[in-house]
Every structure is written in structure tokens, then in C-alpha cells.
Amino acid sequence: MSIFSIGLSGLHAAQNALNTTSNNISNVYTPGYNRELTLLSERNASGGVTVEDIQRQFDGFVAGQLNRANSETSALSSYVTQVSQIDNLLADRQAGLAPLMQEFFSSFEDLVSAPSDPAARQGVIGAADTMSAQFRAFDEYLNDMQSGVNSQIRDEITQINNTAAQVANLNREIALARAKHGEAPNSLLNQRDQLVADLSTRLDVELTVQENGTYNLSIGNGQPIVAGSTRFELQAIASDADPARSVVGYRDSAGNMIEMKAGSISGGTLGGLLNFRSEALDKTQSQLGQLAVTLASAVNGQHRAGFDLEGNPGGDLFTVAEPRILGNAGNSGSAEFSAAFGDLGQLAATDYELKVTDAASGEFQITRLDSGERFTAALDGSGQLELGGVLLQIDDATGLVDGDRFQLQPVRGAAGAMENIIRDTAGIAAGAGGGSGDNENALALQQLQQQNLVGGSATFNGAYAIMVSDVGSHTNIAQVNLDARQGLSEQLYALQQSESGVNLDEEAANLIRYQQFYQANAKVIQTASTVLDEILGLR
């Protein structure tokens, strides 16, 4: 009789093994699937074999490494995708800003040769129109990218919240299953690990496995988003410093919405987006604005020094945007600043954060947002502060409170306001007051293109070349880093797969093996049956 039970145990084991093998085969391409091994061991009580465990081949350490690598790769990948758009825009040499700026200054050449010729004057107006239109178009493109980044951040956060909710759910189900059956179904565990992997590509999460097997996830500086079966939500909120900008907000256990600081999320698609925005997009927009403001102001200044065809002093040729200064939404004081351009040679392509360190004496700690450089400055007697080429005027210094913050955006977005305002050919100031044949002001306007006016050290074309070089470098470096990281990710993936991946040839061999196993055990039962029949057939 015991032969029966031994054979039966073998059949049972073979069935299990075949089950596991076919599960592996059918899930060979399922993302997140970890192959299962049937662990057999001797049945001590009455002989035979027992299935000890259907063991899931999962290495948490390698999985963690892979997730971290994927996090960085996704960040770089989303960075490269975004910055390539700006790179492609600057690739066009025929229709870019540089040739249009050159045409604008060339139009002064005709004016110099024939100052009172209406065709030459119309040429100047036309070139001014085309060039300022291109500045506006470029800025609009970058603005579109800003709104694109804002909405992508929102989308990512929605996905992140969904995934975190699912992880929290699975934590609960797995805990329940463990409580009921002593072990959790492999499919749930696989699902949970896959969700964590997916989450890692969206932002850099830190995984902590508790003793009872619960997964806790945290982000940034340790803020938890999944703790057991509770989850904490992220939200895309308007930044306190600049309401036009979406940032990541975190709702903590007390229900407060905290704005996550810049740099606290650096991995995954979300980190890549945030990095791109602060490093490349803001910088390029500021550089463009710096060029636009310096060019427009220089041309305006020289134009005003001349006289038009009717003998009147020249007016402004271009509109120039005002610098923006925003009070932080969390400020407790009521003071407000107004801003105007001062010494344009000090204008830099960056935003500044001003923080009140001593309200009584009007002292501020100022941070350059592109380099992180810090310095202090104070209001002078009349409530003025000169910073980076901008003159700030406070309306009421008593409204300052320690800790209040302001953000100064001197040139970001300024290119969008550049427009040609002179339409009448007689309004072009070619002369210095001498008569209709006087071309001295036109000569001076022409010479502006050789002067180092941008930031006090670069010509207009030079500043544009710097912008091209910066964008090209960022893209190039990110691309190279991405290639390197992708190589690493691929290696880690191969390592993880060597542990957890299904090999069809191996499973095919297993099928054959376990089939034979089944047939052999069936034969055992047949033999036992034959023996019994023999005994029963005795008279």
C-alpha cells in the first residue's frame, strides 16, 4: 500500500512541477515576473516526495540596485528628450536669431549710404520687425516648454499617486494572505515589486522592507509616501515663489501641504523634468531675455541720441519688458518691491532669491539661482537696492519681516515683450542733427554690434554663441551620461534576469524531465496495482 502512496506523492509532485514549469513558460514575457522553482524534499513520515515550496527566485538586493539605476537612467532620458527640443531649435542656421540680428545691423548699412532714402528706412523697419518677431517666437517656444513641463509634472504625480495607492493596497492584501495562509501568493509579491520598479522610473524612491514583509516607500528627505497600508499624496501645486510654476507638493500626516524643495527629487522622469527646468530651460530663457533687453536698450539709447527726418529727437525703437519681482506667498510682511533696469552691464542670465535676514536694517541674503552663490546686501537710505543690473525700490521698509522671501526675475521672459514700435519711415533717427544727408547716428547704431554690451563682456552675436554652446553642451553631456547609464542599467538588468528570468530552453527541458517523472511515477502505481491484482488473484 505504501507503494501507492509513494507513487501518488510522486505524481502529485510531478503535477506541481509541471504546473510551475507551464506557469513559467506562459509568463516568460510578463513584466515583473520572477520565475518559480519547485523545491522537492523527502517526505519523512511514509517515504515519497513532497513539494516543500514553490520558490520565487527574487533577489531584493539586485532588484534595489536595478531600480536605482533605472531611476537615474529615466531622469537622464527625460532630460535628454526635453533639452533636445531646444537643441533642435538652435540647429537651424538659416532662420535662427544670429542671421536675423545680422540682417538688422546690415539694414543700417543702406541707411548709412542713403540716410533720407525711404526704401533704406523701410528696410530698417522691416528688419527690426523680423528680428523682434523671432525673439518673441523663440520665447514663446520656451514658454510652451515651461507649460509642457508643468503639465507633465502633474501627469507624473497622478501616476505616482496611483501606483503608491496600489502598493499600499497590496501591502494590506499580502499581510492578510500571510495571516490566513502563512504565506503570500507569488503573483501578489511579483505585482508589488513591479509597482516599486515602475515607481522608481518616475521618481527616486527609497524602499524599506519591514520585518513582516511590508514595503515602506519614502522620497526626498525621508518623507514617506507609502507606510504599510496608508499612503501620503503628492500634488502638483503652484510654487509659493512664483505662482506660474508647478512644483511637487507633499501632504503630510497632519494634512499640511509642504512644497518640496528644489533638488529633493532628482531621479526618475519627475527628477529629470525638474532638473531640466531649473538647469537648462530657465537658463536658456534668461539668456535669451538678457540678449533681448540689452539689444533693445542699446539700440533705443543710441536712437534717442539722433534726430529723425523731421528734426525731432529719435524715440524708442523697441519695447523693453520690465524686470519681475515677486513676493513669496508665504510672506508675513506686507512690503512690496518695484523694479526697473539700471546698469545693464551688470545684467546676468539668472533669477535671484532675496531673503530678509534683518528687517530693521533692511539686510537681505541673496542667492543666485543658477550657481547657488550667496551674498548679502542691504537697502540704502532711500529704500533702494541695486542687484544684477536691476534697481529695486521698496514701497515701505517697515513692512519687512525676518524670513520673508522675494524672487527677482530680471530677464526671464523679457524676449517675449520685444516689439518694434516705429512704423513711420520718417521716424528713424539716422542723423545727429545735421540735415537730411546726415548719417552719423546710423553709423553709431551700426557700431553697436561690435561693442561688448551683453553682461558687460560679450557682443550680441557672442552672447548668442554662448547660448548655443551651453545648450549643445548640456545636451551632449546628458546624452553621453545617458549612454553610460544605459549600459550600466542593461548590465544590472541582465544580472537580475539571470536570477529571476525564465529561459525557455530550460523550461522545455523541465517539461520533458517532469513528464518523464510523471510517467515513471505512474508506472510505479501501475506496478503497485499489478502486485495487488496478483495477490487478489490468489485462490
Binding site: 540647429a91 546726415d438 552675436n461 554663441a465 549643445g472 545636451t475 534576469q497 528570468g501
Partner: protein, 398 residues
């Protein structure tokens, strides 16, 4: 190391993707003819290319400037050519008119020829360029620079500015000369002109003055020669100096100058000598003086002497004006030559810039096509490997 089925496929796929990406990049380079398609392909080269393109464009901007400068100067030169011819003809007429054998009627016909030349020169002084802008008015090019006043005399209402154009990075070239400089000036080395006072009653005529000694300390200042006749003896004094006896036909010397006098003065007659630039330098005034004296009949000795002295002064003034116009024409010619030189230098510079730009961003077709073939082979190999691996599965042999 154990390899899962997924790894096999994914590695093949990523290798295929990479090969395809590389092939696409090379074909994009070949299609556009540029090695640096996006700035990220070579940021330094892209940035330098922006700068070099600018230098090229500025160069061609100056080339355009030189074309318009050359046009302006060529027009000016041709007008000055006609003006110098006209002054030459006027001078010949004056020499003709100075002959003693002409009658009043003959002189009147010479005067009408001279008036014709006068009108021609006025017309040329008011010449316009192709756009209707007046060439010789300085900055006042909207209306005629030389206008007639109520008495029929010509005066200048332009200014003394010369319009300049930038023809090269550090060369601001004047492309026009104003009416003052051309028609109302003389060279600083133009010597002396003598003039008889209008109220002279005697019939002294002069020839000269010749310059004999420039190192004389008194040379360079103005001289007044006054005549005194007392008791039938004529004497002259230079600048109120000692009275000298006057002999007709003698050449008197003073201040490094020599003046030959003929005829007899009346008491109180005077002659005034000064450097040419302090006297009348206006070409049109010269014409008007000549016409005034030729159109008047002259019969008395005094009138004849006055006519002779005026014509002598007019001849000298025409010489000086002609010199001035020719000098201006020479300067115009020199500027046009300079434009030619700058053109060739700038042409070389342009060529250098284009070479540099090409070296930075243009594609070396030979190496690109070689790379294209290489990548094609790489892609084909990756595709073949994928097919081979797909065929190697145990399931096919079961």
C-alpha cells in the same frame, strides 16, 4: 552566467536599435552635408561656427558698403571732370579777352560764351545722384546747395560736412565732398593774388606777383601798395613804409614777392596783395567779376586799366580754383583705389572665414560614406544574429 529568454531578446533589440540609430545619424549627416547637425554634436564647433558666420556676414556687409561708396565716388569724379574742363575753357576765354585788339562788341560776345560756361558750372555744382539727392550740399542734400540771390549772384546754402561710410572694420571713408571744399576753397599753397582798389583813378596795371624768395621774413602777410603823386613825381609805399620812386615798367620787390607795374598812377591809388586763401576763393564770384567787367564797355584809360587788372586777378583765381578741383578729383581717385585694395583684402578674409566655417561644421564626405557602409554592415549583422538566435530553441527540436 544564466541568461533568461527575455535578456536574449532585449539585448538583441537594444543592439538593433543602437545600430539603427547610428545609421540614421550618419545618413542625416550625409543628407544635410553637415557634420554638426545639432549643436549637441559638437558644442564648441557649433558655437565657433556662430561667431565665424557673423564675421562672414559683417564682411559682406562692408562689401556692400564699398559698392555704394564706389558709386558715389564715381559720380563725383565724373562731375568734377566736367567742372575742371569748364574752368579750363573759361580760363582760355579770359586769356582771349585780355587781348588789347578786341573791341567792346568782341568782348561782349566772349562774355556771353563765358556766361554759358558759368551756367553749366552752376548746373554741375547742383548735380544730383540717381535718387535725387544733391551731391555737393554736405548734409543738406534735400535742396539745391547753390542758389541765386536777388542780384543774380550765386551763394552756397549747404554745409561743410562730408558724409562718411564704414567700408571696413576700422575705416570710415568720406564718400562725398561738400560745395564749400570744392567750389569755395583754394589750396593752402596757392600763392598770392593782387587786386587794384575799385576807386583807382590812374591807369596802373600790374603783372604777377611772382614769388621769388619764400624765406623772406615778411613773406606770408598782406601788402598794401599806395601811390602818391606830388609835383609830377610818382612814388609808392609798401604797407605805409618808405616812399619809393615809381618808374613805369619796373618790377618792385617786397616781402619775397616781385610785382611788375605799367602805366601812371593817380594820387591815392592803391593795390592790395594777399595770400590766395584770404582773398576771393569762390569760383562763382570769380565768374561774376569777369562777366561784370567784360559786359561793360570800357573806353577811358582808367576803365581799361581796371579791366586789365580785374582780368589778371580773375585768371589767377581760375588757376587756383582749377588746382583745387583737380586736387579734390585726385583724392576721389585715391579713395576709389583704396576701395579696390580693401576689396581684395576683404575677399581673402572672406575666403579664410569660409574655409574655417567649413572645417568646423561641414562633412567630410569620404569618411562619412565609409562610416555609412560600416554601420550598414553592423545593422545587417545585428539583424542576422537576431534571426539566428530566434531559430535556436529547444521547442523546435522536441
Amino acid at each position: 552566467m544564466r541568461i533568461s529568454t527575455l535578456t536574449i531578446y532585449e539585448q538583441s533589440m537594444s543592439s538593433l536599435n543602437r545600430q539603427q540609430g547610428n545609421l540614421m545619424h550618419v545618413s542625416q549627416q550625409i543628407a544635410s552635408g553637415r557634420r554638426v547637425v545639432n549643436p549637441s554634436d559638437d558644442p564648441q564647433a557649433a558655437s565657433q561656427a556662430v561667431q565665424v558666420s557673423q564675421a562672414l556676414a559683417v564682411n559682406s556687409q562692408y562689401a556692400d558698403a564699398r559698392i555704394s561708396a564706389r558709386n558715389a565716388l564715381a559720380q563725383e569724379e565724373s562731375v568734377l571732370n566736367s567742372v575742371s574742363d569748364a574752368i579750363g575753357s573759361a580760363r582760355t576765354l579770359i586769356v582771349q579777352a585780355a587781348s588789347d585788339t578786341l573791341s567792346d562788341a568782341d568782348r561782349a560776345s566772349v562774355a556771353s560764351e563765358l556766361r554759358g560756361i558759368y551756367e553749366t558750372v552752376i548746373g554741375q555744382a547742383n548735380a544730383t545722384d540717381g535718387n535725387g539727392r544733391y551731391l555737393f550740399g554736405g548734409y543738406q542734400d534735400g535742396s539745391e546747395p547753390f542758389v541765386r540771390d536777388a542780384s543774380g549772384n550765386v551763394s552756397y546754402v549747404g554745409d561743410s560736412n562730408n558724409r562718411a561710410v564704414r567700408v571696413d572694420a576700422s575705416r570710415l571713408m568720406p564718400v562725398a565732398d561738400n560745395g564749400n571744399d570744392i567750389f569755395r576753397s583754394v589750396h593752402s599753397g596757392a600763392g598770392y593774388v593782387a587786386e587794384a582798389a575799385a576807386g583807382n583813378q590812374g591807369n596802373v596795371t600790374f603783372r604777377g606777383p611772382q614769388i621769388v624768395d619764400k624765406s623772406n621774413p615778411a613773406y606770408g602777410s598782406a601788402f598794401d601798395i599806395t601811390f602818391a603823386v606830388s609835383a609830377g613825381v610818382a612814388s609808392y609805399s609798401v604797407n605805409g613804409g618808405a616812399a619809393q620812386v615809381y618808374e613805369p615798367g619796373q618790377a618792385i620787390r617786397f616781402g619775397g614777392l616781385s610785382l611788375t607795374l605799367e602805366g601812371m598812377p593817380a594820387d591815392g591809388d592803391s593795390l592790395h596783395l594777399d595770400r590766395a586763401e584770404n582773398g576771393n576763393t569762390d569760383l562763382f564770384r570769380t565768374f561774376e567779376k569777369a562777366l561784370a567787367v567784360l559786359e561793360q564797355p570800357s573806353s577811358s584809360n582808367t576803365e581799361i586799366a581796371a579791366r586789365k587788372n580785374t582780368l589778371s586777378g580773375v585768371l589767377r583765381e581760375f588757376d587756383n580754383s582749377l588746382d583745387n578741383v583737380l586736387t579734390t578729383r585726385a583724392s576721389v581717385g585715391a579713395r576709389m583705389n583704396e576701395l579696390d585694395v580693401v576689396d581684395s583684402v576683404a575677399g581673402n578674409r572672406s575666403l579664410n572665414y569660409e574655409e574655417k566655417l567649413s572645417g568646423l561644421v561641414d562633412l567630410d564626405y569620404v569618411s562619412a560614406i565609409a562610416e555609412y557602409s560600416l554601420r550598414q554592415i553592423g545593422l545587417q549583422a545585428a539583424q542576422q544574429a537576431f534571426i539566428d538566435i530566434k531559430g535556436m530553441t529547444l521547442f523546435d527540436r522536441m
